[in-house]
Structure formats: C-alpha cells, structure tokens
C-alpha cells in the first residue's frame, strides 16, 4: 500500500513541476 502511495507521490511531483514550468512560461506572456 505504502509503495503505491510513494510511487504516486513521485509521479504527482513530476506533474506539478511540469505545470510550474508552464506557469513560469505563461507569466512571461502577461504584462508586468
């Protein structure tokens, strides 16, 4: 059970990091 939790957490972190990349890219497009 814990194995599934930790493997899922790893995958979730990678997804969140990729979303952060996209967010940083989008921020460039907004007026500052």
């Amino acid at each position: 059970m814990l194995d599934i939790v930790f493997l899922a957490a790893t995958a979730l972190f990678v997804v969140m990091a990729i979303l952060y990349v996209r967010a940083c890219e989008r921020l460039k497009g907004t007026k500052s």
């Binding site: 814990l2 939790v5 957490a9 790893t10 995958a11 990729i18 990349v21 940083c24 500052s32």
Partner: protein, 590 residues
C-alpha cells in the same frame, strides 16, 4: 589556530585556483562540442548511445522542453531507485543478505539521491546491498551531478546567446557530461584513492578476532542492562573507491559507510583527504571559468570566482577560530595546540585530521552542496557549527554544488545588477542583456522557495511531537538539529547535525519533499530566466552600464548574498546557535 593549519588551508585554495582554468576550458570544449583529446575514444560510444535511444544530437531545445526532459528523466530515475531498494533482498550482489529497505526510508533515499542531496538517515553498510550501492546510489551520484552541471551550462548559454529560443539538448549535454567529464576523472580518481588504501571489492564482510576483547554493557528493549564479552568484530567493506570519488567530484556526499569520510576505508590518509577536498571544489570552481569563456568575459568569470573565494575564506576563518579556541566550559582541560595535540574542540573530530583539516572539510562540504563529512558537525561549538549552517543557508553559492553553485549565484547576480540599476536609475544590464521585471520575479521565486521550505518545515517540526522526537539535545541545540535537517535537505547538501534521528516516517518524507522542492522548484524559475535572456538582443555598453568585471561588482555580489541570507535566516539563527553560544558563555550547555 596554527601556522601549519593556515598553510594547509591556503595551499588547498591555491590548488583550487590552479585547476580552475584547465578544467573550465575543458568543460567549455565539451559542451560547445569542440575537439578534445578524448574524442577518439568517446565519440563512437556517444554516437551508438544516441542511435540506441533515438536521440537526434542536432536537435536543440527551448528552455521548457529542456526542463521537462530533465524532470521526466529525474522522475523515472527516482522511481527506479525506489524499486531497487524495495526489492534488493531478491536481487544479486547482496552477500550480507540485507532485507528490503522500508518504504518511507526508500522514498526518502530515492528523493535524496535524485536531488544530489544524499542525505542518509540510515546506516549504509547494514541497509544497502552492493547492487543498490552500485546500480542505485552510485548511478544517481553520476546522473544527478551531470544534471546539475548541464543546467548551469544552459544558464551560461542563456547569457551568451542572443535572439534565440534554443539552449541545447538535455540528452546530448547529459551524455557528454557523463562520458567526457565525470567518468574519466572518476576512473583516474578512484585509482588514486585505491592507491591510498580506499577499499574496492565485492567480498562479504570479514569477521575478525579482537586482539583485545572488550566487556560492554548492553541495555535491551525492556531497559535491563547486562554485560557482554565482545571477542569479534565485523569489518564492513565493498566497492567503496568507485563510489567515493564521485561522492566528492559530483558534490553528492552520501558515504558508503555511516562514518562517511571519517571512516579509514573511505579516507585513509592525509593525501586522500586533500584529494577529496580538491575533488569537491574542482568542477564548481572550473565552471566559473567556463562562464567567463562562453560569455566572452573572462574577467566576469574571475569576479564571480573572487566573490566565492572571499566568502570561503570568511567562513573558514570563523569556523577555524571557534574550533581552535575550544569550549570555554572545559576550564580544567588543556585546549592549547602543541606538538603533541591539536588542541581546541576535538569532540567529534578524528585525531588524525586535527582541527584544521576537520574545519576545512566542514566548510568546503557546506560551501558546496556536497555533504560528505570527516567530522561530526553536531559536536562543533555553537559558532563553529553555525558557519556550515550559514554556508548552506546562503544557497551554497560559495563555489557550490556541481552546476548548482553557478546557477545559484546567477540568481544573486541578477539581484545584484538589479539593485545596482536601481541605485543609478537605469534599466539594469548584465553582460549586454537588459534585466527586466520578469527576470527579477523569477529570481525571487528561486530565493523564496528555499526560504518557504526551510522555515516552514522547521517551524512545523519544532511544535509537533513527531518533529521533536528526533532530537537528542534539548534547548537551542535541539532546535539547531531540526533547522540543520531542513536547511541541509532543501539546500541539497545532505550533511547532518549527526545528533538527530531522522529515520522516522515524518523526517523521511518531509525531508524528501524539502529536497525535491529545493532542487526542482528552484531550478525551474532559473531556467525561465535563462530562456528569457537567450531571446534578448544585446545592447552595447554605455557610460551607465554597471561593470560586472571588477572588485566593485564582487563586493556588491557578496553584499547581496549576505543581505538576502541575513534578512531571511537571522531570526532562526538567533534561536539556535547564537542563543546556544550566549548560554555557553553564561555557563550553560546542552
């Protein structure tokens, strides 16, 4: 402090200065894909690897594609290490028949080695099989170091290139880093260490009869104390040298043995100690030269190097002074250095290294994001232990981790030229590129993620029983243990205030999250700055351009690093080592 000690410290800095240029030039040639001496041997291997995995070596990536490739690579590598740890009992190269690693510890260790932290909340020689050490941990020692280096190269390309979106190919850069930079040096380095007595074998641990049997008192789980006669000792060994060299050269820090570089099989002689120290700073120092060469501003590279060297000397002076002075509460003990003894505070230090080589190792390993230790930082005086803590808090930009030091100081360079621009009322420029609000916002995101993670987790751990259960000393020293754990994890350093028991579900998972945030959520905004800089045109220097090549720039850079660090962490330091020092002066110890 002794003249001999200072001679060794300055000789070490001279050695670092001397390796900077040749290594910097070599890395420039490797990442610019120019000719090197190793091409004849390595180029065919490189081509085969690309053909096998379908990489187009001429395809260049935008910063987003590059970063996502790095994230996916790291995620897959971390998963594989986790699975390896969880199945080692059924796999080969496990002569001690060690069982599978517990899930929480396996997750923490997988995150730790993927992020180049190498924080170890376990005893390696009784937890990890040879296969896990070689194919899991040592593999990550290489690839996490390579990832750090290639990200620094992308930052340099971002500064050097103009009006382009292309910053290189992650797979090509990483492959070339492994084949040209890390593997050849480590092959030679491991043989040098073997020549000094570092072991390298796959034998089961050896049982030996003690020449002087000991009687020890053992307390069992019920609290009953009995006497036991110990006549034998189990001597752990294994493929140490091959892991030891990348442990330092890749600023990883995870020891083959629990005692790390204090263990005679990892660090047997003064020469081995010196080689290991040079290995830690070699690449980070060389990368400052690569920065200058690739941006065609060698003086800028040296200005960054000078700022780093100044901070290194400031740190080592403070630690050396504090440790050589000793503990004021030990009034009856002779703590003076003589021909017969090191003097000073020798608790937690190897007699063979003495004060100078212990504090030098502690300073170097925390200036860089290495985390290897040859003495126990928990046993330092409050001020002596505070300096390693501050070194990591500053972002490990004093030469720093391989690649991480350079892209870390790049954030402060952006902030420094921004501040300089504000002072003179002009748009800040950095090597011909205008620094705009987007770049400064990204730089602040990189700074803030470290602050948020360190202070947030530390605050939670000190008010909850699951956090305070791990500490071994009360009062400010216990606070320092917790603070150090999150500073070290977030900074991807990996050294520990050894007194803390971090092998609990809370510490294994929370430090893993801190390591992942500190590594990847810091890198992403920095990569965004690199991508943004590469897109820009260069503007010619004018009378209003702040020069980034001289002593004034180095001074401003050092000031920016210190001000940001002090404003962020001074309150936390005052609750830990500063308070402990003041109480020690008043006669109270913890």
């Amino acid at each position: 402090m002794t003249a001999n000690g200072w001679f060794q410290i300055l000789f070490f800095l001279l050695a670092i200065f001397l390796v900077t240029k040749p290594l910097g030039i070599f890395m420039t040639r490797v990442f610019n894909r120019e000719k090197t001496l190793l091409d004849r041997a390595l180029r065919p291997i490189e081509k085969i690897l690309y053909r096998l995995v379908g990489v187009d070596e001429n395809h260049e990536m935008r910063w987003t594609e590059y970063t996502i490739a790095m994230l996916l690579f790291s995620g897959v590598s971390m998963t594989l290490l986790y699975l390896l740890e969880r199945t080692q009992k059924w796999l080969p190269f496990n002569p001690q028949k060690l069982s599978n690693v517990e899930p929480g510890l396996a997750f923490g260790t997988a995150a730790s080695f993927t992020t180049n932290t190498n924080w170890q909340s376990y005893v390696p020689e009784s937890t990890m099989s040879y296969l896990t050490q070689m194919a899991g941990l040592a593999y990550h020692n290489f690839v996490s170091a390579a990832v750090g280096i290639v990200l620094a190269i992308v930052v340099i390309r971002g500064i050097a290139r103009r009006e382009t979106e292309k910053l290189g190919n992650f797979w090509v850069d990483t492959t070339r880093c492994l084949l040209w930079v890390l593997l050849p040096f480590c092959l030679v380095g491991s043989l040098v260490l073997v020549s000094q007595g570092v072991v390298q074998n796959l034998k089961p641990y050896t049982i030996v009869e003690l020449t002087d049997p000991q009687t020890v008192r053992v307390t069992d789980a019920d609290g009953k104390t009995t006497s036991q006669r110990v006549t034998q000792q189990l001597i752990a060994q294994g493929p140490v040298a091959s892991q030891e060299v990348i442990k330092e050269f890749g600023t990883n820090g995870g020891g083959f043995f629990n005692a790390n570089s204090a263990h005679p099989f990892e660090n047997p002689t003064p020469l081995a100690n010196f080689v290991e120290l040079v290995l830690i700073f070699a690449i980070p120092s060389g990368l400052t030269y690569t920065l200058g060469r690739m941006t065609r501003s060698q003086r800028h590279g040296w200005a960054v190097w000078a700022a780093m060297a100044f901070l290194f000397l400031a740190g080592i002076t403070a630690t050396y002074w504090a440790e050589a002075k000793g503990n004021s509460l030990l009034s009856g003990a002779d703590q003076h250095a003589t021909g017969q003894q090191s003097g000073g505070n020798m608790e937690g230090k190897e007699v063979r290294f003495g004060i100078a080589n212990s504090v030098l190792f502690a300073t170097v390993t925390t200036d860089a994001s290495c985390g290897a230790v040859n003495s126990m930082h928990d046993s330092y005086t409050p001020v002596g232990g505070m300096v390693p803590l501050i070194n990591i808090m500053l972002g490990e930009v004093v030469f720093g981790g391989v690649g991480a030091g350079l892209y870390g100081i790049f954030v402060f360079v952006v902030l420094a030229v921004f501040i300089a621009g504000l002072m003179v009322g002009r748009t800040p420029e950095y090597l011909g590129k205008k620094i705009e609000s987007y770049d400064v916002k990204m730089a602040m995101l990189a700074v803030l993620i470290l602050t948020f993670t360190i202070l947030g987790f530390s605050a939670l751990a000190v008010i909850k029983p699951f956090g305070t259960a791990g500490i071994s000393n009360p009062g400010p020293h216990g606070f320092s243990q917790i603070l150090y754990a999150y500073v070290s994890s977030t900074g991807n350093n990996g050294s520990a205030f050894a007194g803390i028991n971090a092998n609990t579900m809370w510490y294994n998972t929370s430090t893993a999250v801190a390591q992942l945030l500190g590594r990847f959520f810091m890198i992403i905004p920095i990569m965004a700055i690199a991508g943004n800089l590469a897109r820009k045109k260069t503007v010619p220097e004018s009378a209003g351009t702040f020069p980034v090549t001289g002593a004034l720039f180095s001074t401003l850079l050092v000031s920016t690093i210190l001000i940001v660090g002090a404003l962020t962490f001074f309150p936390a330091l005052s609750l830990g080592p500063i308070l402990e020092h003041l109480l020690m002066m008043a006669g109270k110890a913890f």
